[in-house]
């Protein structure tokens, strides 16, 4: 087996891994701040990417401004979701299953909305840098290198935010123990609103970074959500860094399985290995058993 094939698989796995990680990070952010499993995280990516596409190709705006609008759209959508749906359900003491159903329903609704407003076309954003980088007989798009770098920057920024800023700490506290947080003066509703704003924005960043590599259309949201969810669970669902680790592991498992086995078995092999990992490490690769409650 040529070494270039293995190297191609590694590069492909890392690229895919960071795609999954970016979605998984958004799922982790929202879970960390609200204990809600967000089944519509992929739709934030779709909305962000489509807004950026229409702002740049349609309205002729410069790409950085179009991307900013896309991120704002994702963040704004997150805020709306919290205000219109999550907050009223929290007031009514809805169960965790109800929130999961909510986000599943919203995923289908937003997908239908994307089809209605954006049509059935798939859309590509221009890459940050054109062309591919060749290494040892394998290739990786230059844009993928930027995607990896920016994903690392996003995760590092989130880590600093949650650990070193008062706002980040209070958001985590409000999720872990809302009653306790309230008694010490943390506005739990505001904390959750900011969680959804952040989760929506991160989701939109994911879509905008991915769409130069993979054309975005109305149907991609659920695809990304499933992969991102696997990454987040694998890494320990409330940990954005865990989502990155989980995403990379998942991407590499899939890619290397395609090299070592007939490609038809790729997904079966990767999922089987994932199951083994989850049995051995049920809290995820770098997760830990957390407090129950909140």
């Amino acid at each position: 087996m040529p070494s270039s094939l293995i190297l191609q698989a590694v590069l492909a796995g890392i690229t895919s891994g960071f795609v999954y990680a970016l979605i998984g990070v958004g799922i982790a952010v929202i879970f960390r701040g609200s204990h809600i499993v967000n089944a519509m995280q992929g739709e934030f990516a779709v909305v962000g990417a489509l807004v950026a596409v229409f702002a740049s190709a349609g309205a002729g705006l410069p790409l950085p401004l179009a991307a900013t609008l896309g991120v704002a759209a994702g963040a704004g959508l997150g805020v709306l979701i919290d205000l219109l749906f999550v907050r009223p359900m929290k007031r009514r003491k809805a169960s965790e299953e109800s929130f999961l159903l909510l986000t599943i329903g919203l995923a289908f609704t937003l997908s239908a909305g994307a089809l209605y407003f954006a049509g059935r076309d798939s859309h590509l954003l221009p890459p940050i840098v054109e062309g591919v980088y060749a290494i040892g007989g394998a290739t990786i798009p230059n844009h993928a290198l930027w995607l990896i770098a920016l994903a690392v920057a996003v995760v590092a920024a989130l880590r600093l935010f949650y650990r070193r800023t008062l706002l980040g700490l209070s958001m985590a506290a409000a999720s872990a123990d809302p009653d306790g947080a309230t008694t010490i003066g943390i506005d739990v509703n505001r904390a959750r609103l900011l969680t959804f704003l952040l989760g929506g924005g991160v989701g939109a960043v994911a879509g905008i970074l991915v769409s130069p590599l993979i054309a975005m259309n109305y149907h991609m949201g659920i695809v990304y959500t499933l992969k991102g969810f696997a990454a987040a669970i694998l890494g320990g669902i409330a940990n954005p860094l865990g989502a990155v680790v989980g995403g990379i592991v998942l991407g590499l498992l899939e890619s290397l399985a395609a090299v070592g086995f007939p490609s038809g078995y790729r997904d079966g092999v990767a999922m089987a290995l994932l199951i083994v990992i989850m049995i051995v490490m049920p809290n995820g690769l770098i997760g830990r058993a957390g407090r129950v409650g909140g």
Binding site: P2, S4, L5, Q8, A9, L11, A12, G13, T15, S16, V19, Y20, A112, L115, G119, R120, D121, S122, H123, L124, V132, A138, T139, P141, V210, L213, I214, A215, N217, Y218, H219, V223, L226, K227, G251, S255, A258, V259, P262, S263, G264, R266, D267
Partner: protein, 388 residues
């Protein structure tokens, strides 16, 4: 004194009247004939298409073709003067939803015929209901005789996957591209690959690599690299996504690609980016250079929507027009079994020449393919026709 004959040289009154009448008639006859639009009680057919969900990319162009056919038909006088009305339903790309919608169309709305469905699973699911009710179903997909051989009221307007496979391999054979790599997805591509397996010897080609990827894959460069390692003369790509085309070019596999017409939509081409080059498609409709039998449809579609059509829309146009032809012949009150029987005949459509009396209820052949080459994102017609 009165004379025995009139000295008035003017024509007589009856003669003047006759002359004037003739003049008016001549003037009217010289006017261009304008068809009267259809009027009166509408003739109702149903349409069950995937307007939402995963198959909307197919269902929406089918609806476009269907609606422009309805418009043109009704402007020309409809069916014996009566307008054609289409009761539309969306199956949301789900066979379960398709069953409830077909029951509504057949048993509640009592439509004369159904246009659809857009998906294999939906066609197989609803075909039993329409067959039992003897309501013609003009399907855009299906599984063909192995499953549907008793369904003589289910007509197919798109080719069987075996024919798609032959169209692809014929090009490779006739252009001396004897070492073939195959890259296919787990959905559409898998169905065609299943039909292609075992045809390599018949077509005198060697399948040197077969790689599969999930329809939800976000990267297929590993599989493309495996195909490249087998050093093929050509790569057959079977997928509705742009991803594998981009992957083949990313790994610097620069051989010609051959792909199936389901991948040839303008939306997929746009999403291919720079990879939309040196790809050959066995097609039915090359709207940039239509055949004479296709021109009316292409012009009508372009006038209505401001863009060029693909074969999904052409097939839907043919579904409406072929049904209308039969309804004109037997009358809208003819029983279902008579409609189905009359449908089973050769029909020259915009997409292709069909033979609805053939065993597969579609009758498309290798001769029906037109080959297009995609060069830097633009289609052109190839002179190539497959040798038998």
């Amino acid at each position: 004194m009165s004379l025995p004959y009139s000295t008035d040289r003017r024509p007589s009154r009856p003669a003047r009247f006759a002359s004037m009448t003739l003049a008016v008639l001549a003037a009217v006859a010289a006017l261009p004939v304008v068809a009267q639009p259809a009027s009166g009680a509408p003739i109702r057919i149903g349409a069950l298409l995937s307007i939402t969900g995963g198959l909307a990319s197919v269902g929406l162009p089918e609806r476009e073709g269907m609606l422009v056919a309805q418009k043109v038909l009704n402007a020309r006088g409809g069916i014996n003067g009566r307008p054609l009305e289409i009761v539309q339903e969306d199956d949301a790309s789900s066979p379960d939803s398709a069953i409830s919608k077909i029951n509504n169309l057949v048993h509640t709305q009592k439509v004369k015929a159904i246009i659809g469905t857009s998906g294999i699973a939906q066609t197989v699911a609803v075909g039993g209901i329409t067959q039992k009710a003897q309501v013609p179903l003009m399907a855009f997909t299906g599984l063909g005789p192995p499953v549907e051989k008793e369904r003589t009221c289910v007509f197919h307007l798109t080719p069987a996957q075996a024919l798609n496979a032959r169209g692809l391999l014929a090009y490779a054979r006739d252009n001396k591209l004897s070492k073939v790599g195959v890259l296919h997805d787990s959905g559409y591509g898998q169905v065609i690959w299943n039909a292609m397996k075992g045809l390599d010897k018949e077509f005198g080609v060697e399948i040197v690599a077969v790689e599969k990827f999930d329809i939800a894959a976000t990267d297929v460069t590993t599989q493309a690299a495996k195909v490249k390692a087998a050093a093929p003369d050509t790569v057959i790509v079977m997928s509705t996504a742009s991803l594998p085309f981009r992957a083949v070019r990313q790994v610097k596999l620069d051989v010609p690609m051959i792909s199936v017409h389901g991948s040839s939509t303008y939306e997929t081409v746009k999403a291919m980016g720079d990879a939309a080059d040196n790809i050959v498609f066995p097609e039915f409709l090359i709207a940039e250079n239509p055949l004479p039998t296709q021109k009316e449809f292409v012009d009508a579609y372009q006038k209505e929507y401001g863009k060029l059509p693909k074969h999904f829309s052409a097939a839907a146009w043919d579904a409406v027009m072929s049904l209308a032809e039969v309804l004109k012949k037997v009358g809208p009150d003819a029983p279902g079994d008579k409609l189905c029987a009359e449908m089973r005949r050769p029909y020259q459509g915009a997409m292709a020449k069909y033979d609805f009396s053939a065993a597969d209820m579609g009758g498309l052949t290798l001769d029906g393919f037109n080959y297009a080459k995609l060069t830097q994102g633009k289609y052109s017609r190839l002179a190539y026709r497959p040798a038998r």
